[in-house]
């Protein structure tokens, strides 16, 4: 699931050169600095645009380690029980395992003045709370929307059920991903907790997905693969991997657009957290404070095309006005079960 969104995010990343540079530069920084913030994050979340002002304001050095996958990030944190990093950014679906393993600590919002900048839809996210304590600060977001050919649909489809319409048989593709497929089917079936399904609900989800299977041209894995299949085969609809696929399709001459149907779409929300092994919690708070500056939110949207959590106008300028209509990723009840159900659908 996260893999899917992270690939799309890579599209906007600066490239691996930055990663290498940060890796090689890190030891030098460690030696030189007295006060230092150690950041573990995705590319694009610690840009000079806000890292430099942070350094100037605090006099601290910043060492940044970029990660390639959620699993790698968790392994790095678990390896040192959090002692190697001060702040980390990951998405809502990872919180459970970090909290279960005691790798992160609650954040005292009174020490983060800019927390008041957070726009309403991101103020109370259950996934990042436990026992009334907040463990994460929402920072960047995106979704897995319904992408459609606007020539075939003059008005945007307002329901995912369009992807179960035989009229569009063989003109649709869906993401090959166990968790995302099951969450989407659960949303379509109207289940209140798509990340926590009963056995009976699993059975209904399975039937729903099998019903859709024969209408799909194929399942796809990978950002570019989806775009290529859509463009090459003149498709009408797709369960997409993220907003950037619309731009990629337009680049191939497809009149593509996205819709967030009434059943909601899956959303990813990356948050800043403070490591349990943070050396300087105040410095970590200051970092989060910097990231919640409206200017940073603006840059995140205008330069990187991510949804941000502080500047609603910037979100609007890139069309990302649907933060309140997404089902944020959560740790599912049983990942193995989800993989097994998805395999049953694919083998049916």
């Amino acid at each position: 699931m996260k893999k899917a969104t992270s690939i799309s995010r890579r599209k906007f990343a600066l490239g691996s050169a930055a990663t290498i540079a940060s890796f090689t530069a890190a030891p030098a920084i460690v030696r030189a600095a007295a006060k230092e913030l150690r950041v573990l994050t995705w590319e694009g979340y610690a840009e000079p645009d806000w890292v430099d002002p942070f350094k100037a304001a605090t006099g601290a050095d910043v060492s940044i380690v970029y990660t390639g996958s959620v699993d790698e990030m968790f392994a790095k944190m678990q390896g040192s029980k959090g002692a190697d990093f001060d702040v980390v950014a990951f998405d809502t679906s990872s919180f459970k395992r970090y909290m279960d393993s005691n790798l992160i600590q609650p954040i005292d919002l009174s020490k983060v003045a800019n927390a008041q900048n957070i726009i309403p839809e991101f103020k109370s996210i259950d996934a990042i709370k436990r026992d009334d304590k907040q463990y994460g600060i929402p920072f960047a977001w995106g979704s897995l929307p319904l992408i459609y050919d606007a020539t075939a649909f003059p008005t945007a489809p307002d329901s995912w059920t369009v992807m179960w319409d035989p009229q569009y048989a063989q003109q649709m593709i869906a993401l090959d991903d166990a968790n995302n497929s099951i969450v989407l089917a659960a949303l379509v079936l109207g289940f209140p907790e798509p990340y926590n399904l009963t056995d009976d609900q699993f059975e209904q989800v399975k039937q729903k997905l099998i019903e859709q299977k024969k209408l799909l041209l194929t399942y796809y894995a990978g950002f570019d693969e989806g775009v290529k299949l859509f463009a090459d085969n003149k498709l009408k609809l797709m369960f997409s991997m993220g907003e950037p696929q619309v731009a990629a399709l337009k680049g191939k001459g497809v009149n593509a657009a996205l819709s967030i149907p009434k059943e909601k779409a899956i959303g990813w929300l990356d948050c800043w957290v403070i490591s349990a092994g943070a050396k300087d919690v105040d410095l970590a708070n200051q970092w989060i404070n910097t990231c919640l500056d409206k200017k940073v939110g603006n840059l995140l949207s205008t330069k990187k095309s991510y949804g941000n959590t502080t500047d609603a106008e910037a979100n609007k300028s890139i069309g990302m006005t649907y933060g309140d209509r997404l089902a944020w990723l959560l740790t599912p009840e049983n990942f193995e079960k989800r993989v097994a159900v998805w395999n049953e659908v694919k083998a049916s």
Binding site: M1, K2, K3, V70, D71, R97, Q170, D176, A178, N179, K213, K214, L216, L217, T218, Y219, A221, D232, N233, K234, F335, E336, R338, V339, A340, W342, N343, E344, K346, A347
Partner: protein, 280 residues
């Protein structure tokens, strides 16, 4: 003693490669297949539950059998097409023969993924085949019939693996002494009898090797079915793949990989046994 030591060291050094790069990873996998998961952690144990789960669950067993059947079909196609091609190339003389042989193995110089994309762009909706058929008036509009179904999987895999069938068949054909064929003809055998009683038995080891190559390669290929097979392109390799990554059930994945490995080894053993019995 003085001479023994360097030799032992040299042997140990040479043994490191296959030991470290082949046996050790496979061994790790086999050991892992007996472990089990507890609270999302891999716990060392000696459980046969992973294997039992595989045989009890029709999704997995059925996909496995389906994959074996698919590979059998691919092998049959490669043999039926590859044998005549190898024969044809073998019957040419001089430079032409080796030029044709080079042509048949030329696809092996190309990346597998590039070939897949090429095939897809030939057979796809806007592909060459559809353009030609529409241009000739055979089809009214481009059809999706050639892509994203089981036929596409069979055709694509046959194209990908046929060089592995042609090459060993050609090599054994080439080793048949010309005077054996002449003797057969002199003794009044028809071309068919010569093929049936002289050429075919002599070329059998290469034929079996070719079939084996295509079968085992097809068995491990889960990318092709997925890329050209549409929603039906689900094979056993993909089932194994699904147990890694976020699913994080390595022991079950390892058990199924061990079953795939055992199947491949069994087929290789059977083939080499029948090949050795045929030796004249």
């Amino acid at each position: 003693m003085e001479r023994l030591l360097p030799r032992v060291l040299l042997f140990a050094l040479a043994a490191c490669l296959p030991l470290g790069l082949v046996l050790l990873p496979i061994g790790t996998f086999l050991v892992l297949s007996f472990f089990h998961m507890e609270n999302s952690q891999i716990v060392p144990s000696f459980w046969l539950a992973n294997y039992a789960n595989f045989f009890r669950n029709w999704t997995y067993l059925g996909t496995f059998l389906g994959t074996l059947w698919l590979c059998t079909q691919v092998t049959a196609i490669c043999m039926l097409l590859g044998y005549p091609i190898a024969w044809f190339v073998w019957r040419r003389s001089g430079t032409l023969r080796y030029f044709l042989l080079l042509l048949t193995v030329l696809p092996l110089f190309m990346s597998y993924i590039v070939k897949l994309y090429t095939i897809r762009s030939v057979l796809g909706l806007n592909g060459l085949l559809n353009q030609v058929l529409v241009g000739l008036g055979i089809l009214e509009k481009p059809s999706l019939l050639f892509m994203f179904n089981q036929h596409a999987v069979l055709g694509t895999m046959a194209v990908l693996y046929i060089p592995f069938a042609i090459l060993p068949i050609f090599l054994t054909l080439e080793r048949i002494p010309a005077n054996l064929m002449e003797a057969s003809r002199d003794l009044g055998a028809s071309p068919w009898s010569t093929f049936r009683y002289v050429v075919f038995p002599l070329a059998l080891p290469g034929t079996i090797a070719g079939a084996l190559f295509t079968f085992v390669l097809a068995l491990g290929d889960f990318v092709t079915p997925q890329m050209v097979g549409g929603t039906t392109g689900f094979t056993f390799g993909r089932v194994i793949w699904s147990q890694f990554g976020l699913a994080y059930n390595w022991p079950f994945g390892a058990a199924m990989a061990a079953i795939l490995l055992a199947t491949a080894l069994l087929i290789i053993a059977l083939a080499s046994y029948s090949a050795s019995r045929q030796r004249i």
